[in-house]
């Protein structure tokens, strides 16, 4: 999809999503208005897992095919994923305080997610520290694959262990589910965040490719200067 078109589609869907969150979705009976954090909190986590999935797929493909473009896609997805992971983390804390009375607790769900957040940072720091482009791409691909292992642990954490974090309200089995208006609002929020992810990912890929070209030109210039 054309980048401008994607940008406009993201803006429109985001505005519709905000309208639905604040005007259409009903107020939750127990938590009140603060529950409206849920729509962007959940959507940011969805996009974060989508990003990690992209990192995983492109890292595996890079190790097989050794194409630079695949490394660009994986590393760009990791950086954008970290932004959404941070949004999920902070909105979760801002929702936890009025509802649980605490900002944070080290239960299985929150801890496993915090580990994923640290893995993202580790991945990006690794890319900054390794100078050789080939080695950087290879090591970060391995790191990206290992990091994805944490996702299933996060997914099952509040199903298997007793956690402060509530049981899933979507796809959580008997007793779970949402009011249809809440469900529609959530679907549109997911769509808005997914489009935003693809837009930012595209922007970041262009930047990463340009940075790699400049790095390569600088190396050539240094070699010529030295000769």
């Amino acid at each position: 999809m054309n980048r401008n078109l994607l940008g406009w589609a993201t803006c429109i869907t985001m505005l519709v999503s905000l309208y639905l969150i604040f005007m259409y979705a009903p107020t939750e009976a127990t938590m009140g208005d603060v529950q409206r954090i849920f729509y962007f909190h959940f959507a940011s986590h969805w996009v974060n897992f989508l990003a990690i999935f992209c990192v995983f797929i492109y890292s595996v493909r890079f190790l097989i095919q050794r194409e630079k473009e695949l490394d660009v896609k994986a590393s760009s997805a990791a950086e954008v994923g970290l932004v959404f992971a941070t949004i999920g983390l902070l909105t979760g804390m801002l929702w936890a305080k009025p509802v649980w009375g605490i900002w944070w607790t080290w239960d299985a769900r929150l801890t496993s997610f915090f580990v994923l957040w640290l893995i993202y940072w580790g991945y990006l720091m690794l890319r900054r520290l390794v100078e050789s482009p080939e080695q950087r791409a290879r090591l970060s691909a391995v790191f990206g694959i290992l990091g994805a292992v944490d996702v299933p642990i996060i997914y099952v954490s509040n199903r298997v262990w007793r956690t402060q974090h509530p049981q899933p309200v979507v796809g959580g089995g008997a007793g779970s589910g949402l009011d249809p208006r809440m469900a529609w609002t959530l679907v549109v929020s997911f769509l808005a965040f997914t489009l935003l992810f693809f837009y930012l990912w595209k922007l970041r890929q262009n930047l990463e490719s340009a940075q790699e070209s400049v790095e390569s030109l600088q190396r050539q210039a240094q070699l010529k200067g030295a000769a």
Partner: protein
Amino acid sequence: MNYLFASYTVIWLLLFAYVISIARRQKKVQDDLSEIQEWMDRQKK
């Protein structure tokens, strides 16, 4: 209500900060490219 307001403020601030960081890095890449271009022009002369 304060927490709701704080949450949506945090979301937009983070997203704007990220877009600005991409724009700044893009500008740096363009500056580096112009520097390389100038260097190449000097080498030709």
